[in-house]
């Protein structure tokens, strides 16, 4: 095993950490003491930095605005109140000399406007009966969620689409992980034209999904497509890949894996090239088998990145809709839950119903992600 080399590395690492901490201590003691922060204003004090009071006032005024004003006026009033609260936070941070917070404030504001606000807005919409092409809105509580889960028309369809999505998640992620991993192993070695081949292999990931979809539409086409032409010649029969569920799912999985395996490869390759060479040299001196060498030296370096790739690709696979739209329009049992939500929310304008279904999907993804993180953490602790 690599005992001697590893012990040396650990000792070197410990020394470096101690040096760093020592320097940090010296730097900290050299700095002048921070200025004393002014006292926080009392809750009812009308001060520009009284964020607690501002939040309370904004909440009360928002409720009054929503109840009393027309929808558009209420929206902008609430928006102005949120801006006011944000301003009190800024003034407060400035007076307390909390410049770090001020520096990240624009990023947080952007995050709020672009991500958090739309999320909260759509969550709110899911409790209403609202269609984007109508001007009416009615509070219905959990009706949309109950309908999505129990209606004898909608629930079976949602369930079937979720199952199809699960099939895609398993198949596409497995294919991408396997192919990406094998490609990474290949490109971790040096060989002639490696750099050019690497660019070629990375190309699919850089193409637009629409281009890939159109390309594969023709690739699989029974009359003009390459797949059917080749198979027809070999078997003398009429081969139509996308004519049944297995073929249609297989076709989409292949296209998705073709496009995204390079992404997995990139992550894994980053791990592979970061493994110190001397570990392999030590292992070869100790006459460690290739499998053992991979499992005890290589894998620990790439495990984190593999898990990251798995997480990213799983979340993306849950959102699979574009290739399905382009290749099958959801036919032949390929309707995914994301495409279903897209149709409900965007094409049929059933905004609230779509929002409710999206949140159910989000719940599933969060549960699975946490489960994954829990397993990953446990494994890393065991390791």
């Amino acid at each position: 095993m690599c005992r001697s080399a590893c012990v040396g590395l650990r000792a070197k690492g410990n020394n470096a950490t101690a040096d760093f901490l020592g320097m940090l201590h010296m730097t900290t003691t050299a700095l002048p003491p921070p200025p004393t922060a002014p006292d926080a204003p009392a809750f009812l004090t009308p001060a520009l930095d009284n964020w607690r009071g501002a939040i309370a006032a904004a909440l009360v005024l928002s409720v009054i605005a929503i109840a009393a004003l027309p929808a558009a006026a209420a929206f902008w009033t609430v928006g102005a109140l949120v801006a006011l609260v944000a301003a009190t936070f800024v003034v407060n941070a400035f007076r307390r000399h909390y410049y770090g917070g001020l520096l990240v404030a624009p990023a947080i504001a952007m995050l709020f406007v672009m991500n958090i606000f739309p999320l909260l807005w759509s969550l709110g919409l899911s409790f209403f009966a609202y269609q984007s092409n109508r001007q009416t809105m009615k509070f219905v509580g959990l009706h949309n969620y109950i309908q999505a889960l129990t209606s004898d028309i909608k629930a079976p369809e949602n369930w079937a689409n979720l199952q199809t999505t699960a099939v895609f998640v398993v198949c596409t992620v497995a294919a991408q992980m396997l192919v990406g991993f094998l490609l990474a192993l290949l490109f971790a070695k040096q060989f002639p034209l490696r750099r050019y081949l690497l660019i070629l292999v990375l190309t699919p990931m850089m193409l637009s999904v629409v281009a890939v979809g159109v390309f594969y539409t023709y690739y699989y086409d029974p009359t003009f497509g390459l797949v059917s032409q080749v198979v027809n010649r070999m078997c003398g029969c009429q081969y139509v890949l996308m004519s049944n569920r297995a073929g249609a799912i297989g076709g989409i999985v292949f296209a998705d894996a073709w496009m995204w395996s390079p992404f997995v490869m990139l992550l894994v390759l980053a791990g592979l090239v970061s493994v110190p060479k001397y570990l392999y040299e030590a292992a070869s001196i100790d006459r460690v088998s290739s499998w053992r060498s991979f499992w005890t030296i290589t894998f620990p370096y790439i495990r984190g990145l593999l898990m990251l790739a798995l997480l990213f690709r799983t979340i993306e696979a849950f959102k699979l809709a574009d290739l399905v739209i382009l290749l099958t329009k959801g036919g032949n049992g390929t309707m995914t839950i994301s495409y279903h939500v897209l149709r409900i929310a965007q094409e049929q304008n059933k905004t609230s119903e779509g929002a409710a279904l999206s949140y159910l999907l989000l719940f599933v993804v969060i549960v699975l992600t946490n489960l994954y993180l829990y397993v990953a953490n446990r494994r890393s602790q065991e390791a």
Partner: protein
């Protein structure tokens, strides 16, 4: 002079010129921009071209038609997103007739009765529009007195045929020998095709690569017939509705709401028989039909690539067939009416779903934009422009235009146009049309790809429609 000085002088001169330009150019209050959303295809390209070349606003204002050409597959999604987002980007839009309910109820499409009532000339033109298209394109509720739209490009299904194959002597002789009937070859003969003959043509022209086809070995597999059988948008419903109406069945009738029902009508025995009939012909079509993706564009492509003897498709796609740059069969074409069902009296029943699109005005337009928009509509529907449009590849639903003797000479399919008009009906125009359509398309796709039979399909459609329409208060 140093280069920095030169650069500064040039920049100053440019800035001064721009400032002067802005200052000197009069802010013309009479410039009116009409922003319009249209699908990107020949009928709208021709309209834009005519407008730019010929249109002079009667008001004397400078009217600019700022057209947003949107690819067909994205057209509904883009227009729907624009309207419902509240961006108020467009002043006019081309719209499918089915969209009227959804966007009128949403407060986007403007009612134009006041403008029409105030203009006797336009009123007379509207009276000249064929009733099937007037009802479908202009009225909401369907067949009411409320007017919202005007024909931009009226369209019907026609049969595209391959003269070189259909008129070949060997094929004629063999077909006669096999079915004891003449293989239709001319446009007039194609007008007389019923579904039985259409099926025979489909069966007869199934050829493998190397088989003899019109006196030569076929260079690829060849098929007799094609029609739309796709899952997307309305790419099966438009054909299936025709089968249902011809068989005496019906779709849910919105004009009788709230007393009309979907269950018992949509899944009536006649409708089930019609869907069965539609499905039975698919086996004679190119294999892509098994994937549920043989939409109007795919069947058109197969026809233009020379893989099919006959294709039923919209006239709107016809120009590409005539163009040698996009069609391998551009010099071999013959057109006829779509097949019909022969009634007990021997007469042909030819009901079909109409196609094409109206255009509409938006509710947020200024009075000036509306006035200029209405003047543009009036100009567009004038006989001279309608004739020119038809000659350039469009169609007209204005009676004085399509009944003119010269109309048939404009394009090879025009001969089938006027005779088809009286046989057109339309699908629903109610607000939840897209919900009705997508569920129906999903169910039809299951039947087309062999996953379920016609009865189950229409039972599922009827149940869903009954439930949805009750939820929406459209059925009691």
């Amino acid at each position: 002079m140093k280069w920095q000085t030169k650069l500064a002088a040039t920049a100053s001169a440019a800035a001064l010129a721009m400032t002067m330009g802005v200052a000197i150019t009069p802010a013309s209050a009479a410039d009116v921009v009409l922003k319009m959303a249209v699908p990107d295809w020949p009928p709208t390209r021709i309209m834009k071209k005519f407008f730019d070349e010929q249109y002079k606003a009667p008001s004397g204002n400078k009217v600019i038609l700022d057209v947003d050409f949107i690819p067909w597959p994205d057209f509904y999604t883009r227009v729907n997103a624009s309207l419902t987002s509240g961006e108020k980007k467009y002043n006019m839009s081309v719209a499918d007739s089915q969209w009227l309910g959804a966007f009128v109820e949403g407060g986007y499409f403007r009612k134009v009765n006041d403008y029409i009532d105030a203009d006797p000339g336009l009123k007379a033109t509207m009276a000249e529009i064929h009733p099937a298209f007037y009802d479908a394109y202009s009225t909401y509720p369907y067949k009411s007195k409320n007017i919202y739209g005007f024909p931009q490009f009226p369209d019907v299904l026609v049969t595209y045929g391959r003269k070189d194959i259909l008129c070949n002597d060997d094929e004629q002789k063999n077909f006669k020998a096999k079915y004891n009937t003449k293989l239709p070859c001319t446009g007039e003969e194609m007008d007389n095709i019923d579904w039985t003959l259409f099926q025979q043509i489909g069966e007869f022209f199934q050829r493998k690569k190397g088989d003899m086809l019109a006196g030569k070995p076929a260079d690829d597999d060849f098929y007799g017939i094609a029609y739309q059988a796709g899952k997307g948008y309305d790419f099966a419903s438009m054909q299936i509705n025709g089968f249902i109406w011809q068989a005496g069945g019906d779709i849910w009738d919105e004009t009788k709401a709230p007393n009309s029902h979907a269950e018992g009508v949509v899944n009536s025995p006649a409708a089930v028989g019609a869907l069965d009939h539609y499905l039975s012909l698919l086996k004679y079509m190119p294999p892509v039909v098994k994937t549920g993706t043989m939409d109007i564009f795919k069947s058109d492509e197969l026809f233009r690539e020379g893989k099919v003897a006959m294709n039923i498709d919209w006239i709107g796609l016809g120009e590409a067939s005539l163009d040698p740059k996009t069609s391998k069969v551009s010099d071999k074409l013959v057109f006829g009416m779509t097949p019909g069902t022969r009634g007990a009296d021997g007469k042909m029943i030819r009901w079909n779903n109409l196609g094409g699109q109206p255009f509409v005005l938006m509710t947020w337009n200024t009075d000036l934009q509306n006035k200029e928009g209405m003047d543009f509509v009036k100009w567009w529907l004038s006989p001279a422009i309608q004739n020119e449009f038809a000659a350039g590849g469009g169609q007209s639903a204005v009676k004085s235009v399509y009944t003119d003797a010269k109309y048939n000479s404009y394009r090879p399919w025009n001969r089938a146009w006027a005779a088809s008009l009286d046989w057109q009906k339309d699908v629903w125009h109610v607000p939840p049309f897209f919900d009705l359509l997508t569920q129906q398309q999903d169910q039809f796709d299951l039947a087309i790809t062999g996953k379920q039979d016609a009865k189950t399909t229409l039972n599922n459609v009827a149940k869903y429609q009954e439930n949805l329409l009750k939820e929406q208060g459209l059925i009691k």
